[in-house]
Symmetry: C2
Subunit: 472 residues, 2 copies
């Protein structure tokens, strides 16, 4: 960590410590909690907190809020001066934002939105309860409202929802000297500006002028001579993930967004793309564990229960069905109790192997590397892997089980059941995601629950069925 | 998808179709496969392939190679002219790269490296077998070798391994007019240049001049007046993930890397950061399913078996231990076979709930949001969630089980066992990742296997133990 970084981190940590000290100094905390409305009750606390947090970068302030328990968080939030409240609201987690917004009245929310760009206001409205979002929209100036509404027209998975409107545009018939003079009239260029957009009289994009090219060519050169015409462009209705892949692939910093007629309507920037990539990988991770949204780790117990119940309910149903499969073979288990002991091994390893296959395939699909015709080839390979693993690990566990229960036939049934369940896992591990894709659904969602269900029920059925046929 | 994007995609798809058609045209394919050494046997095929792939962007060529089955892949690779081979090698998957490199001799590899920057050569060497990497290093020019070796000195998780050396530096006492004249002597600015670095006579970084500021200020202004001195800097030994978080948080496009004395030694760019974020989320996803590396979906069966065996072996051991827990209670199961049927439900739901807790905590840790003192508070919350879920879902399944087996005591034991196993899941779901972090290990690795082991063995023990005490 460099001196700079250390300084930043240390200052954030020290602000956090000071905030906590302020909040938990006995006398003050007492006053705050007794008064119930801390914003009014403890002006000197507010002033002290304000002094601390106003010096923070909005992202750092957001971080501080996220790490505080919810009651402390509101005290700090109410103390902040509010100039950058909009920015902070955009930076915090969904769960934290909901709490902060619920604590603000409409006037405060409008004041927070006033400091934001139209695309950011649209992002914020997208995160608000519908009624509050509508009231916020009504409070905007007419010009603001038009832009915000145009950004709101797009789904959050579309480029239109990620684009901003801070484009610097040029005509192609001017010289670079004119461009340089024109740029000096700005107070500052929009952040993440690595290229200027060249448009004709109809607003149609005809090329881009990267700042690097502007700077290395002589002032007498015309824009037309140095602009690039082979441009990565996007349309507002494009899929945001595909845009993110293009940014990654072609190392873009910004890119123009055009409408169907080629007219420039906005731009995409890499900071939005980075946020998107991170958010996507987060939500994939959470949804795999059945968490429906980001959960504030200090959320009230009831909210956590709500966030997690659906997944547990689904798993309860699948576990119950698998249990009924066992129920069919209760007669066999009564005669040979070792079956009850060994059956979870067959089911469990099948589930692990199936999840490996699915993870690999879903990844290949996300990277667009699995052609439609490849399914058969892939299936052959996965079945081959399953046979080897089944004979290998099934063999090991078969020998161990056979030794423990002094029964060669039991060991043989164990090995056979392991191999068959791994084959089932491979078959379904390929078919589940490919079928989901064919049906137009996201193969990353739910595949894991399904494969576990199949390998549990199937594993119990195969093992207990073989045992019933050959052992009891 | 815009016209531009559609054109790009269509051209890549069409190249792929043409390549496949060329390779599988019967006569040619015959010649290729009979000759065994396609590079020599079918010059007209090579020429046709070369014409197709040489027009592709390196990232697109890499994509094409990844989607081809391995034998076709080598034919296409041998046909390419090789000018951009280094770039392509950097873009492809580890598994694919290994195959391509194994097919190249040292001279070809050196030629491919010649088209790369020193930091890229270092990346490439990091991916090669050690002996080949050393031979490549020896083949470089002395100047190249020094820079490559300095990049190689860093671990792949350090900033030093991600940085490049393409900095444009200035002195602070010159005017912007001089800067503009100086920049015109370049053929092109390095990609991802959004700021110039200001250094003193000792090479110490004193500030940065964003291109945006250079362009909006008058030519007579001095660099000192407009440069920024509050700069996000990194050191080569910094953690790459923390650097990625800083890029995300402060919306950086490039940032200077300095040594302990503040001397400028390189720069970080957002394209490397984007690749890093993506690679990290990929490898986390793969490791959660126990895949030790990215696996080429068309890899030979034996390689897939090797990639997946360790995970299956670990799970086999944990499943075996859980099975021995059941073995202890075989007497009870013989007397009441319903226990065998119901026990997987208790174990399974415990595993799901434990994984939810762990996912949430690991995420909070990765985002640096879980203070050391928060553990107790978090534990209280998770135990609260467990009690509610246990009584709720345990109650539901207890009623159902009691009805199926016409036994109220059995239903009551089921509910009690579910609640206790969910409490165990919550306790271990908090303790496993926090303990791993305290021991300095990555809580994302292995937590899931451990919690599943605990909830399986624990669930069987709790349910069968309660049943033995109260039912049989």
């Amino acid at each position: 960590m460099t001196a700079e970084e250390t300084r930043r981190r240390r200052s954030l940590a020290s602000v956090r410590a000071q905030v906590e000290a302020l909040l938990h100094a006995d006398a003050l905390a007492q006053a705050v909690h007794e008064a119930g409305t801390p914003g009014i009750a403890a002006p000197e606390l507010d002033a002290a907190l304000r002094g601390l947090v106003d010096a923070l970068h909005p992202a750092d302030f957001a971080d501080l809020l996220e790490t505080l328990p919810s009651e402390d968080r509101l005290v700090v939030w109410r103390a902040s001066t509010g100039k950058r409240d909009g920015q902070v609201l955009l930076e915090v987690d969904d769960a934290v934002r909901a709490g902060l917004v619920a604590d603000m009245d409409d006037v405060e929310l409008l004041a927070a939105a006033a400091g934001l760009d139209p695309d950011e206001v649209a992002d914020l409205i997208g995160e608000l309860p519908a009624a509050r979002g509508r009231r916020l929209l009504v409070g905007l100036t007419p010009e603001q409202r038009v832009r915000v509404q145009s950004a709101l027209a797009w789904d959050e998975d579309q480029v239109g929802a990620l684009m901003d409107f801070e484009m610097v545009t040029l005509r192609e018939d001017v010289s670079l000297a004119v461009v340089l003079r024109y740029l000096r009239r700005f107070d500052a260029l929009p952040s993440q500006t690595d290229k200027l957009f060249v448009v004709n009289d109809d607003g149609v994009l005809t090329g881009v002028l990267p700042l690097g090219r502007l700077l290395v060519h002589g002032p007498a050169t015309s824009v037309r001579e140095v602009m690039l015409t082979d441009v990565n462009t996007f349309q507002p209705e494009d899929d945001a993930d595909q845009a993110a892949q293009a940014f990654e692939r072609y190392d873009l910093v910004s890119a123009p967004v055009v409408d169907g007629a080629g007219r420039l309507v906005g731009r995409l920037t890499v900071d939005e793309i980075v946020d998107r990539i991170r958010a996507q990988s987060e939500s994939a991770r959470l949804s795999r564990a059945g968490l429906s949204g980001t959960e504030d780790i200090f959320a009230p117990v009831t909210r956590s229960v709500r966030n997690r119940w659906a997944w547990l309910a689904i798993n309860l149903v699948t576990a119950f069905i698998a249990s009924r499969v066992i129920g069919v073979f209760e007669g066999s288990i009564e005669r040979l109790v070792a079956l009850a002991t060994l059956m979870p091994i067959v089911a469990g390893i099948g589930g692990n192997a199936g999840n490996q296959t699915i993870t690999m395939i879903v990844r290949a699909m996300a990277l667009d590397r699995l052609g439609a015709r490849a399914t058969r080839r892939l299936l052959r390979k996965e079945l081959g892997v399953a046979v080897i693993n089944g004979l290998l690990w099934g063999g090991v566990i078969g020998v161990v089980a056979g030794a423990i229960y002094a029964s060669v036939p039991l060991g043989a049934v164990m090995t056979a059941a392991m191999t068959l369940n791994l084959l089932l896992a491979a078959l379904m591990g390929v078919l589940i995601p490919t079928t989901m894709r064919r049906l137009g659904r996201d193969p990353a969602l739910g595949s894991s629950v399904m494969i576990t269900f199949v390998t549990d029920s199937g594993g119990f059925f195969i093992f207990l069925g073989l045992a019933t046929l050959f052992l009891v």
